[in-house]
Amino acid sequence: MSIFSDNWDLLRDAFLTTLSLAVVSGLVALVIGTVLAGMRVSPIAPLRWLATFYVEVFRNTPLTVVFFFFAFGIVFIDLQFPSRYITAVAALGLYTAAFVCEALRSGINAVPPGQAEAARAIGLTFGQTLRTVVFPQAFRTVVPPLGNVWIALAKNTSIAAGFAVTELTAALQRLTNVESTRLLMVFLAIVVAYLVITLPSALVIRLIERRVAILR
C-alpha cells in the first residue's frame, strides 16, 4: 500500500477536489433541476417549452462538449469563468440539472392524480399545490433515482481531468508517468478512492429511501 503513503499529498488533494466538485455541482444541479421540473409541469406554455428545450439539448450533448464550450467557447461572447474549477462546476452542474429535472418529473408523474386534484379542490394555487402537496411526495419517490444521479455525477467529475482540474483522474494520469512500475496499484488506488465516495452514498441512499418511503 506504499502507493498511498508515497503520494499521499497528491491523492488527498485530488480526492478532496473530486469530492468538492461533486458536492458543489450537485447542489447547483439540484436547485436548477428543481426549478426546471417545476417549469416542465407549469400552466404557462412557454415555460414548459423552455424547460423541455433545455433538457433536450443537454440530454443529447456529451458532457465533454459542454466542458469544452465552457472552457474554450464562451470567450467569444466575452464571458470567462474565473477559474478552471468554477468552469468544471458550471459544466457539471448545468449538465446534471437536466437529469435531475428528468428524475423529478418521473417522481411528479408517480404522485397519484387524486393528490393534486384534492389540493386544487381545497383551493390551492399551482405554486401551493407543487410546494405543499406534490413536491414533498415526489422528492420521496425520487430518492433512489436522484441518488443514482448523484453517484453518476461523482463519476462524471472524472471528465474535469481533461480540462486541467487536478482531481482523481488527473492524479491518475500524473501517477501513471511517475509510478510506471506499479501501474496496477495506481489504478487500484484511484478506483478505491472513487468507491469511497460512491459506496457510502449508495448505502445512505438506501437508508433514506427506507426512512422516507410512503406506503401506498
Partner: protein
Amino acid sequence: MTSAVLFDVAGPRARRRQRIGTVLGGLIVLGLVGLALWRLGSNGQLAGERWAVLLDFNSGVPQALGNALVDTLQVAAVAMVAATLLGGILAAGRLSDHVWVRVPVTAVIEFFRAVPLLVLILFCLLYLPTIGVPITSFGALALGLTLYNMAVLAEIFRAGILSVDRGQREAAYAVGMRKTQVMVLILLPQAVRRMLPVLVAQLVVLLKDSSLGFIVGYLELLRTARGLVESFNLTFGNTYTFQLYVAAALIYIVVNLLLSWLARVLERRSRRDRRLAATEDVELPADVQMGGGGGPA
C-alpha cells in the same frame, strides 16, 4: 399524472396574467439570446466568410469533420455491437440457476458499473500495453465503452426478461420445453422487442460517451475540431476557432437528436403492437442517460 391535473383551466384574469408573463419571459429570453448574438457580432464572429469555411471543400474542413463523424460512429458501432452481445450473455448468466455462474457474473456487472468510464478507458490505454497487449486509442476507447455498456445493458436485459409475463414461462415449461428453449424461444424474443427503444436510447448515451476520445487522444469530432483549429491558427490566427467548435458540437447534438427521435418512434410503435400490449413504459433511468459511468455503484 399529466400536468393538466396540477392546475385549473385558467379564467380570464389568470389568462391575462399568463399572457403578460409569457411576453415578459419571452422578452428576457430574446434579450439574452440577442445579447449573446450582439457580442458575437461585435467580435465579428457572425461574418459569413467565417462560417463559409465549414462548407468550403478546398479548405479540407468538411472532409475532416466528415471523417471524424465516421470515426466517431465507427467506435460507437463497434462498442455497441460488442456490448449488446456481451450484455446478453451476462444477463443470461445473472439469471442462471447456478450460484457459481450467478455470483461471479454479478460481481463483473457491479464492478464495471462502479468504475468511472474514463478511468476504464485510461486503464485500457495505459495498463494493457505494459502487460504486452498493444492497443490503439481506438481500441482503448472501444474496449472501455464495451466493458461499461455491457454491464449497463446486462441489467437492462435482465429487467426486460423478468418483465415478460410469468404465464409465458410457465406455459412454456408446461408444454415440456427445457430451460434453454424457454429462454431462447419464449423469453428472449419478447424481451428484445420490448427493449428495442431502450437499446437505441443507450446508443445515444454511448455516442455521447465516445466524445471521451477527446481526452484520450482519439480523433473523434471534438479532437478533430481542436486539431483543425490548431493548424488554422498558424495561418489565420483565431479566425475560425469558434465556428469549428460550434460545428463539432452541432454534429453531435443533431446525430443524438435523430437517434433519440428514432427511440421514441420505436417506442410508440411497440406500444401499438398488440403482441406487446400492456407493457409499461420502458425508459432509461436518468442516471444511465448521463453516461460517463452513470448507474449506481
